[in-house]
């Protein structure tokens, strides 16, 4: 298996008939993702795009032997949908939804961890392994198969950087959006372990932002454990303290988690930090 997913990954979409769910399920199928079923309570028995069976519950969807799910339901219902997937033992749970209360996410993430289940998100663009499998909302066209693995706390900015990498002639082995919330399923350290173990991956890009100490911990981890080349970009340098920049995760708390502290930590770990997003490909060479 590549990073977390591959061609054999069998995906369901919880909330496949919703506005977001249906659009992105279609895009994922175009990308090559094997969507085996979708759930939409009350709409069981119909088909999505004349092809993918729609069922009423994850319990029924288990008949299609999924091992990953994309949750695309409104924020108040995410806890229920995630618990439904965890209860059935689905091993990879990606939550697309934004504005999930972080107390719900804490419960989801801790339950999942103890059961050996990986949670991606919430409020991130998902995971893409070109061209094995995409679970999430990244634009299909920016990818090219290659050896650069990208992990990011941001969405659009990830696309910007992936696009720059692709345009520069390189390609991606895996791209994971951790999610922009204060509590998300994966840390940079979690994905660094995966990237380091992944044969396809030769170089690693981390896209961080202000808030929390995820980047600082990652820098320390890189120093001690990562042999592959790592490059970083940090956004939010110009953010005034205490102002909330859209991502709930990006609050500068009491001087911890500033852009400066993160850049310093990376530099100390021998990780070059790009000044502008488009400088990333240059640093990878």
């Amino acid at each position: 298996m590549a990073v977390l997913v591959d061609k054999n990954t069998r995906v369901i979409v919880q909330g496949i008939t919703g506005h977001q769910g249906s659009f992105h399920a279609g895009e994922m199928m175009k990308f090559g993702t094997n969507i085996v079923a979708g759930t939409s309570p009350g709409k069981g028995g119909t088909k999505f795009m004349d092809k993918v069976p729609i069922v009423d519950s994850v319990s029924e969807a288990m008949g299609f032997e999924p091992n990953a799910t994309m949750i695309s339901v409104a924020a108040p219902y995410v806890r229920d949908a995630a618990f439904e997937a965890i209860d059935q033992g689905i091993k990879l749970v990606y939550i697309l939804t934004e504005h999930v209360p972080f107390h719900d996410t804490m419960e989801i993430v801790h339950e999942a961890r103890l059961r050996g289940i990986t949670v991606i998100g919430p409020n991130g663009p998902g995971i893409t392994v070109p061209f094995d499998c995409k679970i999430g909302i990244m634009p299909n066209k920016i990818f090219k198969q290659g050896d650069v693995a990208v992990a990011s706390r941001s969405g659009t900015l990830t696309y910007e950087i992936v696009d720059a990498i692709t345009r520069s002639g390189m390609g991606e082995s895996a791209v994971i959006g951790l999610g922009g919330d204060p509590v998300v399923g994966l840390t940079f350290i979690d994905v660094l372990k995966m990237f380091e173990a992944d044969d396809r991956t030769k170089k690693i890009v981390l896209v961080g932002e202000i808030g929390g100490n995820n980047e600082e911990l990652a820098a320390k981890y890189i120093k001690d454990h990562v042999k592959k080349k790592v490059v970083a970009y940090i956004t939010g340098r110009s953010a005034p303290p205490g102002k909330r920049m859209g991502h709930a995760g990006a609050i500068i708390e009491k001087g911890v988690g500033t852009a400066d502290s993160k850049i310093k930590a990376f530099n100390e770990a021998g990780v070059q930090v790009a000044e502008y997003p488009m400088d990333v490909p240059g640093l990878l060479r």
Partner: protein, 368 residues
Amino acid sequence: MNLYEYMGKEIFRKYGIPVPDGYVVEQLTDVREYRKPVVVKSQILLGGRGKSGGIKFARSSEELKNGVKELLGSKIRGLTVTKVLVEDMINIKHEYYVSFALNRSERSPVLIASSSGGVEIESVPQNQIFTRKIDPLLGYSDYVGREASKFMNLDKNLSAQFRSILEKLYKVYEEEDCELVEINPLVETAEGNLIAADAKVIMDNDSMFRHKDIKITDPEKTPLELEAQSKGYSFIELDGQIGVIANGAGLTMATLDALTLHKGKPRNFLDLGGTDDVEIVVNAFDLVLKADPKAILVNIFGGVTKADTVANGIVAAKKRFKITKPIVVRLSGVHDDEGRQVLKENGIESFPTMMEAIERVVKLAGEA
């Protein structure tokens, strides 16, 4: 969502955490008959109210009225006091600190407690602060409180009170979806009782669908920010001259960063989010224009938000608001060629890369 002290104390009372008796005053006629010494506290969301003169002590009917009169309507560090809390004075023997907050990297709540309360916790030496990760599945349980009590050298009586408060405070943290619940100071009275002399409660904005009874406007937000919030935009006013519209929080932040590195000063942060609706673009312009920037930068990486939709929105906004200020657009990603064509036809400058657009807008803003 930051709650005022008096709101935090109402919640504390509901959960059984001891707080001083008190009442809220919005106008002089709300003041009740003086019976015993009271404290008059301005209800503003700032630390260090005391030092800024926002707290008055009253030991007579006269002092009570004067205190309220002085504080109501006064300005403290830019914020107008519209409410004061009149509260029974307590006999302070010692001040402690306690809070539950989120430790992001552990994705867990953390208990922070100290025998050195009444001051900003950051100023207390690390070795006087007890911190303990709470497993969110196990939740708070008494053993954590016993460990904290020991660290803080509380005697049996105080420890029992303290642990009872901790248990309730964690309930507040959990059931009210809080980012932070803080009691500073937690006062030990001369009579040997623990009582919450202050209350800082920050609720998770994303949880408000579960707490529809709580409706306050964030006093830290400007009127324009509140307008933006009501319209569903993630919008922050800054003190520069260049209006910014971008899509995605990360890209918007990166845009501000790049502008700043180019000596440009952003007037705002505005994240369009994932949208494909022309009107959302038009309304974004409405907000940015109200902030009166010298020039406007639009930075779009098309995905869910298609570049041509944004281009159409810009054209519509320009017409509707008769914009004469310079607009510089960067379009990339899905439907970027189509979008740039639309802009070109309408005489709006656009670039394929972020750097070109930023250099251009900084120049234009400088000239304006």
